[in-house]
């Protein structure tokens, strides 16, 4: 056995895994999840990492244009958009939402402490070249069309593209 091993042609050692990539799966649409997602994405890009955010399921709604109100083709999709307004300026807190009073107070505190809002961070992410990819399947399921979503996104893609982008890098699921 050991002789056979010695006779084997020498194969170059695999490249050490360099964590120069960051992929975030943004699954949640709430303010307290999208905010850290965008903070980490912009910071990753600022650190020189090839950064991708794959927006799926509830995470897709923050990508809806702020002035788009009702989306979808059928009554179920329309109802969904009524109950769950999209846009990065209409995000809800997962706790202490208090019918919007929570996020309003949070926004006020953020301004006071000069913390960039999710909307500002979304713009910064585009400027820094973060790949913002909406999930095609969720778009179909939820009835969201490309024209409902903000500009500056990459082509909608599927799980394979998301996993291929994530390969060999740092991956977060938020």
């Amino acid at each position: 056995m050991s002789v056979a091993t010695l006779d084997r042609p020498q194969v170059a050692a695999p490249k050490p895994q360099v964590e120069d990539k960051l992929t975030i799966f943004a699954w949640s649409g709430e303010l307290d999840k999208i905010w850290p997602t965008l903070i980490l994405a912009t910071t990753g890009a600022a650190m020189g990492k090839e950064t991708t955010v794959f927006f799926t399921f509830w995470g897709l709604f923050p990508l809806v244009k702020n002035d788009v109100r009702i989306t979808g083709e059928n009554w179920m999709q329309k109802m969904l958009s009524m109950m769950n307004r999209g846009g990065d300026e209409h995000l809800k807190l997962s706790k202490m939402n208090f019918v919007g009073a929570g996020p309003a107070m949070m926004g006020h505190l953020a301004k006071e402490h000069h913390v960039a809002s999710p909307h500002e961070l979304m713009e910064a992410a585009k400027e820094l070249g973060v790949h913002l990819i909406p999930c095609q399947m969720t778009m179909d399921l939820m009835g969201l069309k490309k024209e409902d979503l903000i500009d500056g996104l990459e082509e909608p893609a599927g799980a394979t593209k998301a996993l291929a982008d994530a390969q060999g890098g740092m991956t977060l699921f938020i």
């Binding site: 903070i39 600022a46 650190m47 020189g48 000069h114 913390v115 960039a116």
Partner: protein, 79 residues
């Protein structure tokens, strides 16, 4: 400072992650070997600038505090 600082950034009052994002953007506009000077008030920027320099390969040549203002000097890495 005897080194040639080509850009000064006043990032006082800004919170994470803006000091790093603005610094990273500014670093793109200067040449390798040039220096940038940053003033910030976010206490988190002290470990953040250190980590940013380490992970990007740029050098943090000065990091101190004066009257509650954090002061950093960074040198852009050679291409």
């Amino acid at each position: 400072m005897s080194v040639a600082v080509v850009m000064k950034l006043d990032l006082k009052g800004l919170s994470c992650p803006l000091p790093i994002i603005k610094t990273a953007k500014a670093m793109k506009s200067i040449y390798p070997g040039e220096y940038i000077e940053v003033f910030a008030t976010d206490p988190g920027s002290v470990p953040d600038f250190k980590a940013w320099a380490q992970s990007t390969g740029n050098s943090l040549v000065e990091s101190d505090v004066q009257d509650g203002v954090f002061h950093f000097v960074l040198r852009k890495k050679e291409a």
